[in-house]
Symmetry: C2
Subunit: 192 residues, 2 copies
DNA sequence: ATACATTTTGAACAATGTTCATTTTCAACC
DNA sequence: GGTTGAAAATGAACATTGTTCAAAATGTAT
């Protein structure tokens, strides 16, 4: 059932998700969807929850030996995930809830955890700066990467080919690290 | 009528925009809304069009004497606009059309024009690089700024206070320019 | 004043999220 | 095995909202 919903969102975007379609595909009644998830938002949030989990899993799997490589790896993992699951990520970041119900605590926490994954390598690279300051820098860098990727993949606008985006992202990370006073002269794998 | 629609979106988000509300507020029939805008998307797009125009106007108004100051000004103008009209900007970037109708050409063009405003000062700062390369750098920088601002202002997540965001943005621009090999040692107005 | 064009109207329709009384399922107990 | 009561599943009915379109209202030219 979640599987079906995710399939529909991934294939045609959140807007095309319909309760009736999910019920039919799952071979159960409409009411059952409501018994399971409470309401439509509940279903969407369940899919979104799994999306963050999948994303976080990818990010956590990035090797952590060399902090610079790790940052590149995180950015690239994010890009790969975003390119493969553009609609799922959009659902996560763009879905607004009914009324003004609060954003679920656990999803928020997981997103923050994903954000925080850039924190550790940044601390290693900037041992002299205050932790709070580094936390801000890390969040900023994550946000910047997010912006580059999400606008870059936006089909409505002129979408950049993922391969090209990958190069740009790597360049961005390098440039930004250089700006922070971190030397990155040795080219890494797969860089042009 | 557009005014009403914009008001509703700005106040409560795109989701709460209803044809009937607009018709009632404009003191006309539902049908008239359709005669005027074709369909619901037409109304939304009209509001979005004016949003890009307003944003572009703000960005164009940024002084262009010193390129570094100009870049800071552009980022700050974007932030100010985003903070003042968060829901309108979201409507512009997040609204998906029915089916797969194409994104209107003119809006796309205006967004690109806004993107391109970072191009000129970047060319001035990097006279030795190839124009296409600078265009990519400019778009990347714009996207990064967009990401920092849109995630930063996201109330669902932990929103950063605009004042704090302003500082971070300025720091980001400085860092990035430094990474590009551009010296920025003189503090600018209003910087902490 | 008449005839034709244009605009406006809002009732009816279609799509879709939501509810809830009813039915079905199923386990526990005698 | 039959009875019973809780739990789960059902889908018809409802509420909201985008959309259509025949009819009415308005405007204009002759």
């Amino acid at each position: 059932m979640i599987e079906t919903a995710r399939g529909i969102i991934a294939a045609n975007g959140l807007r095309s998700l319909k309760v009736r379609d999910v019920a039919e595909a799952a071979d159960c009644s409409i009411g059952s969807v409501y018994n399971e998830f409470g309401d439509f938002d509940g279903l969407i949030l369940t899919v979104n929850r799994e999306t963050v989990q999948a994303l976080t899993a990818r990010l956590v799997a990035v090797p952590a030996e060399d902090p610079v490589r790790q940052l590149h790896g995180l950015a690239e993992a994010y890009l790969t995930f975003a390119a493969d699951h553009a609609n799922l990520l959009r659902s996560l970041f763009e879905h607004r809830m009914e009324d003004d119900r609060p954003f679920p605590e656990d999803i928020l926490k997981m997103v923050m955890q994903a954000f925080a994954l850039m924190h550790e390598p940044m601390v290693r690279l900037l041992p002299d700066r205050k932790p709070e300051e580094v936390a801000l820098l890390a969040r900023m860098m994550f946000s910047a990467v997010h912006g580059i990727i999400s606008l870059g993949l936006e089909e409505r606008m002129v979408a950049v080919p993922p391969e090209k985006l990958r190069q740009q992202l790597a360049q961005f990370v390098d440039t930004h690290l250089a700006g922070l006073g971190i030397a990155v002269d040795k080219p890494r794998d797969g860089e042009v």
